[in-house]
């Protein structure tokens, strides 16, 4: 099942790159399933809607799936990763806010993706559940209500203060009431417990998948993994879990096979073995449609082994305590997500250092979106902490456009040369 990788995107990059980095890597059946799952999911959501189920759109990890599911609703993420809808958003929003907010807003007000494929979920939403995180999102949500009913969950911004959990718990209780009203279903502690256990299963599976990447030769490319993570909140919880189980099975089989073949021809493989720099991406999320920087990194000789981002570890790293009162356990777990809109956010720095050690990272790419002030300002702290730990950092600030592919490529080339 081996086939040449890195060929798919060569049109966008120079042939030179492929000349040097063409590799054989294992092809996973499950990845095809995940990448092609979008249309099936749309059919599923349409069916559910017909049957009277409510569909909730979310834009952030701070909105607990568990409460939505316990109310008997389904959810789908609305974060935009595509460039196409940005010009639509700019009819309403200033140009100098982040591309993620513009892309999402453009898709929502356009009730789809201006004819762009794979965006039809935007028109299936009964209610958006948003959250007070960064300024761009907060103020944009004020405009969203005119298009889709929008509920905004408030967040305390100092998560370590004693009042924060209490306040967030109250907010979650209000949100629970909103969900009950939307669906007409009561959210009972039993239902919540069941959903907490189910979501923890997803988190444990993701831990299992990420654990495989700690290997000296990760069985799955970072680019493929990011595409899996981009589907985490698109697919239904059950389908995503199913896909994760299948993917882990496949990856484990490959790894077992590899160990055997290496043992057979030790001398041979040693001679051919050039170790690729192991990269962590840390920073802003990469919603579906946006894989520019991971593509550049892996096309130019790096291997991404972990993502410290909302489309990476931040989404699953901590479990919800199953032994506590469910609402309190949710409040405690979710308020600890190390987002840059929180202050202080030292938890994120500690987490980056811990991940760098666990995943044996050679270098970190600090990835930020243009005009994302939170992560852009936090960059300084991240850089300092990594420098002190002796881990090289490359900072890349970009948008969803293609115009800077070469400039980023040069920096990545130099970074790879520096690490190898």
């Amino acid at each position: 099942m081996e086939r040449k990788r890195f060929n798919r995107d060569r049109k966008r990059f120079n042939i030179f790159i492929t000349k040097h980095f063409v590799e054989k890597m294992t092809h996973f059946e499950t990845l095809d399933y995940i990448k092609n799952s979008y249309n099936a999911r749309i059919r599923q959501l349409t069916e559910e809607k017909k049957a009277g189920k409510k569909i909730v759109g979310t834009l952030c990890l701070f909105v607990p799936d568990e409460i939505i599911f316990a109310a008997g609703a389904d959810r789908v993420i609305l974060c935009g990763g595509k460039n196409d809808t940005i010009s639509i958003a700019e009819q309403y929003l200033p140009r100098n806010i982040c591309p993620l907010v513009k892309s999402s807003f453009g898709s929502i007000v356009n009730n789809g993706c201006s004819g762009v494929k794979s965006c039809s979920h935007f028109s299936l939403i009964d209610m958006i559940v948003a959250e007070n995180t960064c300024d761009s999102k907060k103020k944009t949500y004020e405009l969203l209500g005119a298009y889709v009913p929008t509920y905004v969950l408030d967040l305390p911004q100092r998560p370590d203060s004693s009042a924060a959990v209490q306040y967030f718990l109250e907010e979650l209780n209000k949100f629970k009431g909103v969900m009950e009203e939307l669906t007409g279903n009561k959210v009972t502690p039993e239902k919540l417990k069941k959903e907490i256990i189910s979501s923890n299963e997803t988190r444990k599976l993701l831990h299992g998948l990420y654990n495989l990447r700690k290997s000296d030769s990760p069985p799955i490319s970072g680019l493929d993994l990011i595409k899996v993570m981009q589907k985490q909140y698109v697919l239904s919880a059950e389908d995503f879990k199913k896909a994760l189980r299948a993917l882990i099975d496949e990856a484990e089989q490959v790894m077992a096979g590899e160990v055997d073949s290496k043992a057979d021809s030790k001398a041979d493989s040693k001679a051919n073995f050039t170790r690729k720099p192991r990269i962590m991406i840390s920073g802003c999320p990469m919603p579906g449609g946006n894989t520019k920087v991971p593509e550049i990194i892996e096309n130019r000789g790096g291997v991404i082994v972990v993502e410290e981002s909302c489309t990476g570890t931040r989404s699953f790293w901590d479990l919800v305590d199953e032994s506590k009162d469910p609402m309190l356990a949710l409040a405690e777990r979710y308020i600890k997500i190390p987002c840059s809109c929180m202050t202080p956010n030292d938890r994120r720095i500690d987490n980056i250092l811990e991940l760098a050690r666990e995943f044996k990272v050679d270098g970190v790419v600090n990835y930020t979106l243009q005009f994302c002030h939170g992560y852009n300002i936090e960059r300084y702290k991240v850089q300092q902490a990594l420098k002190n730990a002796g881990i090289p950092v490359l900072s890349i600030e970009t948008d969803y456009g293609d115009s800077d592919i070469e400039q980023i490529g040069l920096r990545v080339d130099a970074f790879m040369e520096m690490l190898s």
């Binding site: 120079n14 600030e397 800077d404 400039q407 040069l410 920096r411 080339d413 130099a414 040369e417 520096m418």
Partner: protein, 255 residues
Amino acid sequence: MISVGIDSGSATTKAVLVIDGRMVTHNIRPTGFDFLSAAKTGYEEALTDAEVNKKDVNGIYATGYGRNSIKFADRAVSEITAHTMGVHHLYPAVNGIIDIGGQDCKVISAVDGRVTDFLMNDKCAAGTGKFLEYTAKALEVPIEELGRLALASKEPASITSMCTVFAESEVISLRARGFKKEDIAAGLIESIARRVAVMVRQVGLKQNVAFVGGVAKNAGIKVFLEKELGVSLYVPPEPQITGALGAALYGISKR
């Protein structure tokens, strides 16, 4: 061992021929529209100059913006690594490099010829050769004269725009207000020096810093940069070719 380094830059193409670790010849020409043909011409000229036969060349190594279009090269290397190796060859004690080229500006920190950190300006002409080219035009001064002119200034004008297009209009309005040519020139160069100095401090360069790239040929800029940074800068006799030299040496090191 014969190796050729080609630096295919946005403005100029540089070729360097190295025999047994010693630079034998170099040449510089405008890149023009066709990256590949400028590189080919530079390569062939280097062979003729050094009286070397094509078949005796052990390797050709490309760097610079067009590095991936140089099809006849054996391998490409980033400008950042190339400049670092080239400068290390000329000044082994140097551990910091400022490179100002036609369309970008790089600040590199290095230990023993190996890059440890670097920073580049964002996708914008501010603080690059292009900035000088445009603003010199607005001043109606040949770009080669800009530095010398600036050195004659006693009271540099203040230029606040980082944007090349805005700085051009700022120059025109200063002219209209009757500012002296040399003071405007000095203001322009000071504004670049300030911008580069910020990058130098971010990377943390302190001493033994080299200044390379086409803009380093401009004596005035070196003086203003030194004043801004408070250190004296090493400028090679031919500051434009350190990238090509480094590429040739990089090739040797990878054989």
